[in-house]
């Protein structure tokens, strides 16, 4: 009897702790929704309340869409993240295949360099890359947003680890069947590596959708802005920051990721467990 008692007590304790943790994590998010739903006057009132007295979400959204070309920013986000991901896959898969399955001189050295590359934060190379883009005359363009990220060392590493688990016999069978080495990458390795590609895709899309730093540096033109810059748009108004529309805009730019997550929840968790980053 006492045993089951302590088990339920433990279960309750566990849930209380988890709920507390979840609440802490969700608080800013909830506050964002709350603020997005309040009129300007309530946002600046001294008393704190979560539920708005007057529900102003639609007004704030309307204002957000009116002040900034949010749809354009979302479209930019899609163009940039999809281009980055497609190019990253086109580079990472053949590279990972070579590192995992081909025998050539210097392979281990190259792989060590890939690992080393993972250690370098993008901020460290930002200025040289910026100068390079400047010299190439590519600043303030989609190319400036996409090109620096086409070679993902993390992607190469992740795919290489996955390709290592694909049996050599499968590659040899493909060679016997007359598939070329590039054909093997796309027709044999890619289908086998769909879970790994999905996981990598999630990391890549989330990282570049939310990236604030790089677009801020290389962009000037308003029509090229990516979603996170859209939020900044509301802050830079001379008329002072309008928090309601800002939060509403933040909601809009987060929405695609949240919706995508809800659709691909299982894949997402698979992907996270696959990479061992839990």
């Amino acid at each position: 009897m006492s045993n089951t008692h302590s088990v339920t007590f433990r279960a309750i304790l566990r849930h209380v702790l988890l709920i507390a943790g979840a609440a802490l994590m969700l608080a800013p998010f909830i506050w964002m929704i709350s603020t997005a739903s309040k009129p300007q006057t309530e946002i600046f009132s001294s008393e704190l309340h979560l539920i708005p007295h007057r529900f102003a979400l639609w007004d704030n959204l309307r204002e957000a869409f009116a002040k900034a070309n949010l749809l354009r920013f979302l479209l930019n986000g899609v163009i940039v993240t999809v281009s980055i991901f497609v190019l990253q896959v086109m580079v990472a898969l053949p590279a990972a295949y070579a590192l995992a399955k081909l025998r050539f001189l210097g392979r281990e050295t190259l792989f060590a360099l890939v690992l080393f590359g993972i250690l370098i934060p993008p901020q460290a190379t930002a200025i040289p890359v910026f100068l390079l883009l400047h010299k190439a005359g590519l600043l303030d363009s989609y190319a400036a947003l996409v090109l620096p990220f086409t070679i993902s060392v993390f992607g190469i590493f992740l795919m290489r680890q996955f390709f290592k688990t694909v049996p050599d016999d499968l590659v040899d069978a493909a060679r016997m069947d007359g598939i070329s080495e590039f054909g093997i990458v796309w027709r044999v390795m890619l289908p086998a590596a769909i879970p790994a590609v999905t996981a990598f895709g999630i990391f890549s899309v989330v990282a570049h959708w939310n990236d604030y730093f790089w677009p801020l540096i290389v962009l000037n033109s308003e029509q090229l802005r990516t979603p996170p810059l859209a939020v900044a748009h509301f802050r830079n108004n001379e008329a002072g920051t309008s928090y309601g529309p800002l939060m509403a805009a933040a909601m809009v730019i987060i929405a695609p990721l949240v919706i995508a997550f809800l659709f691909a929840q299982r894949r997402f968790i698979e992907g996270i467990t696959l990479t061992g980053i839990k």
Binding site: A173, M176, P191
Partner: protein, 383 residues
Amino acid sequence: MAQIELSTIRKSFDGTDVLKGIDFRIEDGEFISLVGPSGCGKSTLLRIIAGLEPQNSGQVHIDGRPVDGIRPSARNLAMVFQSYALYPHLSTFDNIAVPLRMRRLSAIERLPLLGPLLPGRRAKERTIRADITAIAEQLDIAPLLRRKPGQLSGGQRQRVAVGRAMVREPRAFLFDEPLSNLDAKLRVHMRAELAELHRRLKATFVYVTHDQAEAMTMSSRIAVMMAGELIQVGTPAEIYDDPGDIRVAEFIGSPKINILPGRVRKDGGIDVLGTALRLGCGAAAGDCRVGVRPERIELGAGPFSGSVVHLENLGAEAFVHLAIEGAGARLIARLGDVRQLPAMGRAVTFGFAPDAVRAFDPAGKRIELRVEQAERIREPAHV
């Protein structure tokens, strides 16, 4: 249909010699088994024939033409792997279709979305479909064509892998231990099927295995490899009866051949366990080893005696393990009639006919023997 010729093939991995000069000719339409213990280089040799691995020196000729440096697919050989190596994301049909599509469709026709729209593609797909249907009928896998490899049993996967090999009508088939992932019963069944397939296709089969029973039952010739060298090539009967090397004698046959310590006397006669055999030879005097197959040991009479230490009754036959007093040697005798099984621990006398004896010198090479008298070495029964 092809004849494959290997001349002084050498291969080393990271400084260790794996193949030490293999010379070998595989005749057209032959079913040849490469047997040998694990790690002796069988798979490596097969992969060199296939073109999947370059040799360090030596040449491979197929039908008289050198194929070194020619891509695996251009050699027109088919290989069946131990793990079957089916494409996991493709259905059985598509798995078998891969080699045909690679050969018959152009690069543009193979493109995912655009390809099917091209004019010629339809007709080609139709011939591919017809070929696959014919193969599926032959191999009894027609109902499985829409399934993925993950939904097939081991035996079915094996058949699909054979289908993928057959469909392109290769010059020769290379098998790398294709049955070793199957359970014992299915293995015996597939053995018969593969032998039947060989008779039907009349193609050259090169079959790698470390299971001597597979080699004995299916092949027209067996090539025994040890430590990177080909030590004997011959028909199964020759390899079994007439091993040229003690390692061949020990590798082929189950249970293993009995090896007893012996001596070659000055006059050329041979002593085993202190008893003179009525055999002579031309070898120099000194130690030798004498091999006798378990089925040639006759229990119940003979100059030797041992005590029963273990019995294996398989129902149709039995194996009696004997320990020989004073010699520290163990020996296995096959008993055809299990009703005459001796009791455990009992002493039994035994002997063997002179023509059952295979003698080997200390280096393991075969010593030629002459039977001195036609009479058997057998003394009146004491038992």
